[in-house]
Symmetry: C2
Amino acid sequence: MAESEIDAIRKLLTSKPRPVGWAERRARLDEVGSTWPVATDIRCESVDCDGVAGEWSMAPGSDASKVLLFFHGGGYCSGSILSHRRMVTEAGRAMGVRTLAIDYRRAPEHPFPAQHEDALTAWRFLRRQGIAAGHIVVGGDSAGGNLSLSLINRLRAAREQLAACAWLVSPWTDLTMSGATLATKDAVDPLIHKAYLEELADAYAPVPLDRRDPLISPLFADLRGFPPMLIQVGSDETLMSDATRLAEAAGIADVAVRLEIWPHMIHAWPVWNAALEDGRLALAGASEFVREWLG
Amino acid sequence: MAESEIDAIRKLLTSKPRPVGWAERRARLDEVGSTWPVATDIRCESVDCDGVAGEWSMAPGSDASKVLLFFHGGGYCSGSILSHRRMVTEAGRAMGVRTLAIDYRRAPEHPFPAQHEDALTAWRFLRRQGIAAGHIVVGGDSAGGNLSLSLINRLRAAREQLAACAWLVSPWTDLTMSGATLATKDAVDPLIHKAYLEELADAYAPVPLDRRDPLISPLFADLRGFPPMLIQVGSDETLMSDATRLAEAAGIADVAVRLEIWPHMIHAWPVWNAALEDGRLALAGASEFVREWLG
């Protein structure tokens, strides 16, 4: 059952030739990501977060005083509020919280650290709405997981309060691409391959930036004092080692960690939750974790 | 709060000089492990599992048709039903199942594979009691985690039905001792140090046995087809890398994995659940996982 659903998602993702060029990639991710629209009972509302575009969402019965601050994936170059709307809004429903999705600036037009600046702006905007730091879960998939970790790193450096916990789906944590599964899972991952990641990393952190910089590759950051983190990754992902090594690094730094590896799931599979039971179950598992740590 | 509790456990464990000699180690582990006796509402009953000594336990309201088959830790050389009685019985209560704890033969008197033979005997005894494989969770701490994995490996090789899931606390998965945290966590782990592990491994798998044998070091086993596994480990453990590397190996083999890293917890901390909230919470987390997978 779950496997035939994931096969259908694989077909959807490979039904057209792989796009070339940033505009084409963005259009394609928006297209496949919005195959299933947002549920009709979700209220969405655009918001200007001090110059950074965002979108609130609320499911019936959610607690407006608690917020999932969400950063979409797309390798820092594509992805949008549109492409990830179904994922964010259903995550908010599962967690019983309001969500704030952020349209941070994208590379290559805006390389590092523009994304960090936008994430900080959104965080501070959210805090100024009166939302307690302990009522915020920061999360994202892929590059959005990277950005979530970098935001926490920046907040710690600024001695600001941190989020209650972090939710990281298929996070891209190592832009030096040293993970073993980049090779060993290459044949089964329909989306993420090393050459593509190299192109994204060149756009986001061009020379002379050092990809080993802990703010660019949070796998190499000192994670001491980070809030509890849930890391979810599929077993059919070239980025699986980015997740498992992050779990170990966080554990070494005495961070509370829960790592879930989902058999046969692909990169950022909760995006497809409308048609994928394991996507809905992953959101349910995330909800369980988040409810444990949100104040 | 949790940290002062764990400090008290650390004091208990280091209150006497570290014992030397197998008899002294066994007596010491039985002594500290039974500091808190079994709760008064638990029914325990000795059982002869076709020549292997065991003990049933039942908490009020548990489902007798579902069983936690438990293998205690102690490096294959010490540990017993007595030392782990509080951990097993409270795990059974949390999971809502009956438990069967096994007094498998210990090294050095009985080296590998005596423990595997006893585990298989106990498994087949349990099955012949009419317990469905899908109603059994196999689990253990430390060497008991190793034995749980090895039992599953043996069952797969014999083409027998497997347990519904596995529960591994601080598992010892690599008897070649190649994990990075053996060095990096040496100063904070009050119990497990490389020289001690070498002594245990020499007793359990003496030359000419090869410690890289997947039946001796399940980290090197082909884990394909293994049931879902929950791995719980403390961040103050030299064996943390044994847990995180097992998670990655299982994920690579498409096994459903949940890895939990518990800050400041020490080796096999759920043994001390009577006086340690994080021990009780770990059992609650294990219960959540087991209930999801038990038929």
